[in-house]
């Protein structure tokens, strides 16, 4: 069946089967292999993308369920001139990755988490909020540091509050 959706700002019309998963459409049909499949059992979070602004596990959503929606993947975060999203920049700055396999999902989940909390997140709340993303290198400390730093860029009022 035909599905129309926006992926990283581009309107697409694609033919999919009923059983095609969103992650299969992204990786296999659209070549957007930045979204990873780690467990395929909805636990690891490597496949997290944004659908209408909210983070979801794209291995646990049918492509047809995203019909009419706006999907953003890790490839769609940076500006056209290559400027990284503040969360990507913070992961680089704070070395929030080791092997990098979980990183796309971590970044997508972290952006949604920070979006949901303009009042600011403690380190404990960041750890709690990222419970749906597993890092098998166990590099969580720097991931938490990166998210804590990025929230002050995404919500400038938090930086002012910290400076006051």
């Amino acid at each position: 069946m035909q599905v129309e959706l926006v992926v990283n700002g581009r309107l697409l019309r694609v033919e999919v089967e009923g059983r095609t998963l969103l992650v299969e459409l992204l990786r296999e049909r659209l070549g957007l292999t930045g979204t990873h499949v780690g467990c395929d059992t909805s636990q690891c979070g490597a496949c997290v993308v944004h659908v209408d602004g909210r983070s979801v596990k794209s291995c646990t959503m049918l492509a047809v369920q995203a019909a009419g929606a706006e999907v953003v993947t890790i490839e769609g975060l940076a500006a056209a001139d290559g400027t990284l999203h503040p969360m990507q920049a913070a992961f680089r700055e704070h070395h929030g990755l080791q092997c990098g396999f979980c990183t796309p999902g971590m970044v997508m989940s972290a952006i949604d988490l920070v979006r949901m909390h303009p009042e600011g997140l403690s380190d404990a709340q960041i750890r709690d909020g990222l419970e749906g993303n597993l890092c098998r290198c166990t590099g969580y400390h720097n991931i938490v540091r990166a998210v804590a730093a990025a929230q002050t860029v995404m919500h400038p009022a938090l930086a002012e509050k910290a400076a006051a």
């Binding site: 009923g18 909805s42 979801v56 959503m61 049918l62 989940s109 909020g129 749906g132």
Partner: protein
């Protein structure tokens, strides 16, 4: 996953007609159903997506809150109305799975599945909620009929759930750290229907009410009222995660914590 034909009806009547096919299955938020399909544990010929039926809402109706069957866990957790009037329900919903699961998973989907370790059955049973379907109203005490078994007919759709507003409510759970399901979850509520205590994750027959705790808390709604009341382990689940005796112990601990939080 085996292939199927996908339907997305625009009316409840059309959805019910499509679900009349014995090989059809409803798709709500998909957070349990899609993993089941991926493991080929189920083979529907038709999957009926019920996200287009207008069943996503939270509204006050007199002394109750009506929540649409397709309302996501995250919306229930964040709802100012529910946080103010039934804080135990908001807390319970915000504790399911992870943020990504809570953005997709639904109240109706969880109740229709009735997983013995799911959280919603405890809240619905303890709050004495009413499950409203396309054809009737079912009281919580009649609705849950054992593990993965409910009063629903094969083609029956949950349209909403009506939660009477209690004077006090709270939920505590001991999570399995890997699956995040409840190893033991206890919901306590006190209101016009008296004190009700429901336990999930532990019963061999799924969610159940704890009569001994209810009568003790009816006399005095305080954690100390539960001191010394043992929960028999005979009808509880024992598995690699916890023995039946350990679950019996946890039921007491979770209930005392839930009551302490409810009166705080």
């Amino acid at each position: 996953m085996y292939d199927f034909s996908y339907e997305k009806p625009a009316t409840i009547a059309d959805a019910v007609r499509l679900l009349g096919d014995p090989e059809a299955k409803a798709l709500a938020g998909g957070q349990t159903f899609l993993p089941v399909l991926k493991q080929r544990l189920n083979r529907p010929s038709v999957v009926v997506d019920i996200s287009g039926l207008g069943l996503t809402f939270i509204r006050r109706e007199g002394n109750a809150i009506a929540v649409g069957g397709m309302t996501r866990h995250g919306m229930i957790a964040a709802s100012p109305e529910i946080r103010a009037s039934i804080p135990g329900l908001a807390k319970m919903a915000g504790w399911i799975g992870d943020i990504q699961v809570r953005h997709c998973g639904t109240l109706g989907g969880s109740l229709a599945n009735n997983d013995p370790a799911a959280c919603y059955p405890a809240a619905v049973l303890a709050l004495g909620a009413t499950i409203v379907t396309d054809r009737r109203r079912i009281g919580a005490d009649e609705y849950f009929q054992g593990m993965f078994t409910t009063a629903l007919e094969a083609d029956e759709l949950i349209t909403s759930v009506e939660f009477p507003i209690p004077s006090r409510s709270n939920y505590e759970k001991f999570r399995n750290p890997a699956s995040r399901y409840a190893m033991v979850g206890v919901f306590v509520a006190s209101g016009q229907a008296g004190v009700r205590v429901a336990v999930t994750g532990a019963g061999q027959g799924g969610v159940f009410r704890h009569a001994a705790f209810e009568s003790a808390l009816s006399a005095r709604f305080a954690p100390e009222a539960l001191a010394g009341i043992e929960t028999p382990a005979a009808d509880l689940v024992g598995d690699i995660h916890a023995s039946a005796e350990y679950r019996a112990h946890l039921i007491g601990v979770m209930a005392r914590r839930a009551v302490a939080g409810a009166v705080a």
